[in-house]
Symmetry: C2
Subunit: 476 residues, 2 copies
């Protein structure tokens, strides 16, 4: 790194020639800039070496220690006195020494995706820009890129001219909570001012295989987990539409008002896709808002070969959760909520903070996205997705997704007739999840199914579940 | 950057000597690694040049264009086809060309803090580690550092032995929402399952100068903005305790159940500190949960000279919001919620997702923090704070905070008797906010106060407000 050495030469000359100490003052500034840049470059060298090591399958994935042990292994304490930059470099090395190499070819964990180099570069740039998504004036480019990307995603879904709204939020759980919040507001706008006491007892519906964030959201929003009615799933994990209709009718009879159905496109464990068309028909019939939680499987819409699994998603009259940080391997975190109706998010969430969202600015205020969010400040999560999209193109994402599905079918075929293994459900995987039990030798020929199940759960609480994201598998 | 050139020399030799194409295969891998590293280094060079430029006060802060213009100025579209890495570098340069230099000495905006180099380095490392805070197994070091840092923060507050709980959340608005959620759950635990219909009509209290996120939170949680009762503030922006007591009694008479008081330590516009001791006495008397929103002013607790402004914060029986990304100049975002009662967050938010939080892991499960959060995946926000704390030491943060308060007092003294300026309230600023009106010449001697106020609001909707964070001022 040699940006500054010509400047240093100049500086030495200037210190001698310029009068009144100006030269040496400038020199001092350059010196401090030089030290800063050297420090940053040293950190980058540490990071590049870490990446190189992570890519090498001969290295350890983790130098694992139990929490109490790890606390002892290094001095992690916060002190009164400052440390030198050299100490800081040592701390960076220690942190990476005990970190888990998430980019390592042999690292497997839930929904991990490896480390995309363009995504990483984009995240470094985002940190350097160090700004906030609340107004156009503090993040002009990033706000525009969010606008461009959300529009593209809506076009891919099939909403007319890509019209609608959306936001990047801190993860799928918050996106799903937004969805429920918007559905409630859409049906009972007075809830914003008057709270749930102005609203009849609500009922939300989702499959028994759906993500726990639906219940978590209901608890937070004051709807209550008991108002989330679980719909039965079939053997392969898909919601059974007839059971949905039955439960909606039951809820109505009990005096509940059905307001929200969350269908899942790609369930967490089975990778099942709920039948969206049948569900949307029922939603239409009973006038319930239809949301699709595609946090995990939404990305399949980018694959011409697999997008039929999401047929009907374009009918989601309200919204869709879609997490590019999962199947599309964007660095954490990157979760989009797409909303069909323009203005709804704004009406639901705005509080008109005059110190931030002045109405007399000289640009189109629809680019001040802050007041439609639940957050005030909002981290820039868009740039890594946008830059990766540019690098891969839509066809690159498609190829990556198709490859993962191909790999999971390969694994499925390898396991299904193998001695000592049992598939959790029959049939090819719909998404990249391959779910199976490993049967220890003593259990392979047990007759008593209940006893067998009980003992299996002692080997592992959940079934094993392997899913492919990018070139990575996630094992549970 | 020359990590790989010895390897390349070896590689050329190996390609010739090793049999069966193994040499050239290895060589190909090295080549691709080399290209990756070169690309990353090129991005870093762009970033270092951008930082150098940002520090130079002779450069432009922003090359501003209106949204529609900016859309035209570059090709920001997402295409089907991939781009080359050279194109990606061009996109990075274009993004920075039109970005606003938030590290520039002449950049002023709400709550901006400049760019701390250690914080930036830490954020780059965080991106490289690319992991998630939900379990210890995927983020061993970061989970520990969060534990160490939250404990340190609780010790500084003055909670016995630093006991309690906490979490880093995506911003102060979400932290405040957590606080309200926990207070409601603490008083009516059945709300989690049964929703607001099981709970009497609630009332929350906060000063008229408090942050809008209190109302936003109430709207989201199904409590309703009308249930947030605004308490009068005195001329300098502090909540009037007598009015709080009156409003609590009034609410009780109307059949509301007061459950939550959010006092503000450092209001957004005036920088006022509510009288925490008097407020906590009232909370105790009426058995209402006492929360302190110290998103902006909480950091003053690190200054021996100024922490008296937060006297009483240790009585916040429930929780405190404290945003190190504001006054402590940590890169965005970094917001802590500190909770006094251990286990409360877990009980309030847990959903026991078996696929993620298995109970049969071989380490202390209290380090799996995911189930106490509203989020499922959670971005690593801790490392930048931790590393900056190591670099500055507690005394470094203290000196930085004291300096900002000194600067704001200096500015206050410069403005208060200056012709054409009028302070929004009398008295020295309590925080770094200096609030004043600029009076155009024609308005300086107007008698009619109402008319004057009306015309002033045409010049600017809000008063001007200058606050110092680190060596930066934020101007509204």
């Amino acid at each position: 790194f040699d940006l500054l050495s010509p400047a240093r030469a100049w500086c030495q000359a200037a210190a001698q020639k310029l009068p009144g100490g100006i030269g040496s003052k400038l020199c001092g500034r350059l010196q401090s800039l030089y030290e800063t840049m050297t420090f940053l470059q040293e950190v980058v060298d540490i990071l590049l070496a870490y990446i190189t090591e992570s890519f090498d399958r001969e290295t350890k994935v983790i130098d694992f220690h139990y929490p109490n042990e790890l606390l002892q292994r290094n001095n992690w304490e916060l002190q009164d006195e400052p440390e030198t930059l050299d100490d800081i470099l040592i701390s960076c090395r220690a942190t990476l020494k005990y970190a888990i190499k998430t980019a390592h070819p042999r690292y497997f964990n839930q929904l991990s995706t490896g480390l995309d180099m363009v995504g990483l570069a984009a995240d470094w740039l985002t940190s350097t820009a160090n700004t906030n998504m609340f107004t156009y004036e503090v993040a002009p480019v990033f706000v525009l890129l969010e606008y461009v990307t959300l529009k593209k995603m809506r076009e891919i879904i099939g909403w007319e001219d890509g019209r609608g709204d959306g936001i990047f939020s801190p993860g799928g759980a918050i996106s799903n909570m937004y969805a429920m919040l918007l559905a409630r507001f859409k049906m009972f706008p007075e809830v914003k001012e008057k709270g749930m006491s102005s609203v009849p007892r609500l009922a939300a519906f989702t499959s028994e295989h759906s993500h726990f964030s639906i219940k978590k959201g209901a608890a937070a929003l004051g709807i209550g987990t008991e108002s989330v009615i679980c719909i039965k799933a079939d053997e392969s994990g898909k919601m059974i539409p007839a059971d949905l209709e039955r439960k909606i009718l039951e809820a109505k009879q009990k005096g509940f008002v059905p307001f929200f159905v969350s269908a899942t496109a790609g369930t967490t464990v089975y990778g099942a896709f709920d039948p969206l068309i049948a569900i949307s028909d029922i939603c239409k019939k009973y006038q319930v808002w239809f949301h699709v939680d595609g946090a995990w499987g939404g990305s399949l819409i980018m694959s011409r070969m697999h997008k039929w699994k999401l047929d009907g998603v374009e009918r989601s009259v309200l919204k869709l959760t879609w997490n590019p940080h999962k199947m599309m391997a964007v660095p954490l975190q990157c979760s989009a909520l797409l909303v069909r109706e323009e203005g709804l998010m704004q009406n639901c969430n705005q509080m008109h903070a005059c110190y931030l969202f002045q109405q007399d600015k000289h640009y189109d205020l629809s680019y001040d996205t802050g007041d439609k969010a639940l957050q005030c400040g909002r981290h820039v999560d868009i740039f890594k997705l946008w830059l990766m999209w540019r690098a891969k193109g839509t066809i690159g994402f498609e190829a990556q997704i198709d490859k993962c599905l191909e790999l999971s079918e390969y694994l499925y075929n390898k396991i299904k007739d193998r001695e000592g293994y049992e598939m959790v459900f029959n049939g090819k995987p719909q998404h990249t999840n391959v779910c199976f039990w490993y049967l220890p030798p003593g259990m392979r020929y047990m007759e008593d199914k209940e006893e067998k199940k009980k003992r299996l759960h002692k080997v592992s609480i959940c079934p094993h579940y392997v899913s492919f994201t990018r070139n990575k598998m996630a094992v549970l």
